[in-house]
Symmetry: C2
Subunit: 675 residues, 2 copies
Amino acid sequence: TTGLQMSKTLALTVLACLSFCICVCRAEDSAMENMVTERKVEDNHRQDSADLLIFIMLLTLTILTIWLFKHRRFRFLHETGLAMIYGVLVGVVLRYGIHVPRDISNVTLSCHVNASPPTLLVNVSGKFYEYTLKGEISASEISDVQDNEMLRKVTFDPEVFFNILLPPIIFHAGYSLKRRHFFRNMGSILAYAFLGTVISCFIIGLLMYGCVTLMKQVGQLNGDFFFTDCLLFGAIVSATDPVTVLAIFNELQVDVDLYALLFGESVLNDAVAVVLSSSIVSYQPEGDNSHTFEVMAMLKSFGMFLGVFSGSFALGVATGVMTFTKLRDFQLLETALFFLMSWSTFLMAEACGFTGVVAVLFCGITQAHYTFNNLSPESQDRTKQLFELLNFLAENFIFSYMGLALFTFQNHIFNPTFIVGAFLAVFLGRAANIYPLSFLLNLGRRNKISSNFQHMMMFAGLRGAMTFALSIRDTATYARQMMFTTTLLIVFFTVWVCGGGTTQMLSCQHIRVGVDSDADNSVKGSERRSTKHESAWLFRIWYNFDHNYLKPILTHSGPPLTVTMPACCGPLARCLTSPQAYENECQLKDDDSDLILTDGDISLTYGDITVSTDASGAHISAGPAGTTSAVISADDLDRELTYGDHELVMRGTRLVLPMDDSEPPLADPRHRMRM
Amino acid sequence: TTGLQMSKTLALTVLACLSFCICVCRAEDSAMENMVTERKVEDNHRQDSADLLIFIMLLTLTILTIWLFKHRRFRFLHETGLAMIYGVLVGVVLRYGIHVPRDISNVTLSCHVNASPPTLLVNVSGKFYEYTLKGEISASEISDVQDNEMLRKVTFDPEVFFNILLPPIIFHAGYSLKRRHFFRNMGSILAYAFLGTVISCFIIGLLMYGCVTLMKQVGQLNGDFFFTDCLLFGAIVSATDPVTVLAIFNELQVDVDLYALLFGESVLNDAVAVVLSSSIVSYQPEGDNSHTFEVMAMLKSFGMFLGVFSGSFALGVATGVMTFTKLRDFQLLETALFFLMSWSTFLMAEACGFTGVVAVLFCGITQAHYTFNNLSPESQDRTKQLFELLNFLAENFIFSYMGLALFTFQNHIFNPTFIVGAFLAVFLGRAANIYPLSFLLNLGRRNKISSNFQHMMMFAGLRGAMTFALSIRDTATYARQMMFTTTLLIVFFTVWVCGGGTTQMLSCQHIRVGVDSDADNSVKGSERRSTKHESAWLFRIWYNFDHNYLKPILTHSGPPLTVTMPACCGPLARCLTSPQAYENECQLKDDDSDLILTDGDISLTYGDITVSTDASGAHISAGPAGTTSAVISADDLDRELTYGDHELVMRGTRLVLPMDDSEPPLADPRHRMRM
């Protein structure tokens, strides 16, 4: 009860501050008219501070409430849902609670230039003022611009979301991909993320086109709405973000494969949706009739999709790989370097015309796979915590802004027909993604995706930060404004209803919770082992390459290249191998040289394992010294991924018990060879 | 040698990237002319990404080189000095290496409005474009604006430094104030910081006014230069930032009192300089003759100084105190809340018209004193590391930008007479601060500031980030531009020459290095004890109040208020005391009730100690359970500060050995009472 009381006091304090800073805003506004121009810039700054303060107070309030919820173990509302509620409340206050005098300081100049330069110098009675271009404004918006300064002030530049808030979220997702279960279900995840997103995009696009055509005939449409707009809408709402669901899965220890499927899909389909939408926007057939179907433009768009995606992918992987830190002794430098490299990936991709967000995602995955192993244990903690914090702040900021935008955004177009149509289309699009693909995948999978898992995945198709950022990016035309409003409602509905009903859905679908990974393994251990042998052959080829060549080059661990490479490449191999790997090798030769043997079919390898148990918080780095040589098998592969798995823990909560199915690496190699 | 080779490779890679992104800039620039307006905004974004990339690459390069220096134990160049060198190199390349075609896209509009609105709508042949006000431009600058777009692009908005980069630096300084030695030398530090900075400001201002008057008579001056400008220059260059010197002190374990004096002075005089300069700027006598001396305006400025300073101080302390986290179980929430509260302090101060930087400084000091004790150990680490990283990045960014600005800033005015005069004035100003004040302080101090310490403090008057941020804030007039150029040169000289010569100066002044705090204590232990008794009486009154009332209210530790408050305030005391403090009390009553005694002269208290040794990295939280009751004495006071001291370590390097002069808290209370 003391906690409750305390938090009430705190919440009241925060509310007081909130109203205080709203008052500051008001005072600023009314005093603004009779001030000299030079002070206006300064006042703008104070105003901006007050606006930002509103958001920070919102976040503070969210944090305090969330603490209360976690304290009391309420699961019906996730922090993101809560941030939205608070955002809506503040939005209502800003919209209706505050009367703002009509701002008369905006002036429309008509001039005879035939281009709009990025910088404008205005000669006002002898003094020159510099103006920078903010963007084009449609004729309908002009009255709004002059109308409510206060609401415009709390409206951020849409690009802020894409360039500042989204990158840490996406990077964190990539950096915390649970590698073992992710790789085990790689095929299915890729299918859902790529094929599924494209299917969903086109299904939703087509359905919405039908809906729009219908509306046009009934006369409900007051502006243009082309097929490309419908497709864009499909791409935008195809990016799922089941952050609420995953948090609950984490807490309740739901089946790890289901978790991996959902998380992996949601991470990758964000990337697909971004590139897809930018390709659709760039779809511009030649000539005047710019909204008909044309094969060439279509192919160009498709080529652009592939180009941008692979470019961003390559760039992300390249910088991820480049971050080859040897600064283990100076953790601050190491962490700073890691942070800067991740950021420069984003900037580099943007400067090249690729998609920074996608590059950052793959940079994160690569860094988790290679660079993470090179970091000192302290830097591993630091980077994890840093990106966790950034992710937390950015995510909650976006969601509370969403709540705010419902009331402060000036150009909402609520069209009931369109909204109902969109909800139906989103539902059908998700269904067309999950069920047919699951059926096809189950043909190839031994470890079938059961129907209750499919229903759960269907249900967990929440929309979140990425969908919002994509839809707010451009709200210039009638179609885009209607899309933005509808998208906002879809996000609200899915986060509150689907997110809030996760526990009910889990029990309704009889999905086991509290799955102890240990028990799980003992039950279907043998089955799982054979599954892997059959399904993951493509992956195993890649794994062998990764383990024998990439890991030794890019990290200090792994077998020395002098062993894995053909003899002719000796000098090159010696040059590329880290000295630590040699030490490793010497040790191995001394200890268990009798275990090293060559096999025609399966290549020779050394198991390198970095164990870190997150349960106790202590690090037990088995490191190079504790490793042994072993013949690679699906079993080893699985074990290594298992160990790697524990290094990254999502949202501070542990998903699986550490050291779950670990036979010690040294245990009876002969037994393994019999397999 | 492998390390050297490796870092060479890395440096080459980074250089390649750097040249790559400069090429991108170029390509962008040349392609810009024949593009449609709507795409220009997008291109601007790509351009901005490339520009930012230059800085990130610069930082990366700095980090790699610094790693090399630390690896090889080079001490002649600190990371900030290095960042400046790289900045200068890139600045030269940008200035002379790249030919940029004359940008013709800037248009000057002459219009008949008599005010410059914050937002401008321009009607360009039917389409409306929105422009935002960036600021006034003096007539002389117009040609520059139209001249070199590339150089303008890498020039940041000066407010970025003040509102984004400076706050984390200042907060970190406050948060990492070494509390024990800081409090022990509080009086001297306050004297140097307040009196000293004001003296230095006026001395430099007067000397520069003499210099300027001379220049006017010789005809070297091409513009106005008023006395207020001279005073402003004095205020700007009075902010010292001996980050280089302190880093070396840390490494060499120089005397802790000298360290505390230098660090404390530099932290506080930043705050004084900021408020002083804003007061000077606001000094505007009534009437037309706006640059004469006037008592009223002077008093108004002085009142403003007091108002802004105390307002910022109060706000900072208030939010610092408000951050009363009870979220110990959820470290992520705790860290996020802590971060947000610090940031909101800044924004709140700015919104109220106070100085955010000053508020943030005192917020940091307060949080280190109170809030830090409420945090969970993990959050203590997290917040320390987070602000350490932010400080590192911001600091190096500012210094590399300084290097860049030497060549890319367009309005440099190099005036040799002014520069020589400024160097002399800065030297004399520093001398007028240190020597007379040290003489006066030594009259009151038992632990005298010896003359070699005084010389060292004189020598360590480096100028850094704050001086730069203040001088770049406004470069509109002739006087300001000349001041900016000169300030830049002063920073360069002091960082490179004084910073680089620190080790030489130390040995030249025969200042002992490698001072083991243990030895230090055994030598002058008794002397120190009596020193405190005499000199710190004011401080002890405050300390008693703090320990008996503030700490129990604001943290979970300390004696319950029910004990320390008079009986009549019983209910209030019960309400304000944290339940944990009661547990504490119960335990104490059980364990050592015989030790609790009242003394008419010295008030009763409970020692609460949180020990954390940073040497081993492990946390030994003695916490409430390990505490005992003891009669407060100067000795206890000192011990408590000692323990608190180890919690905060600056720049990851340990200054004093942990647990230096620790008699165990339980050891023989009777002995202590005899004192």
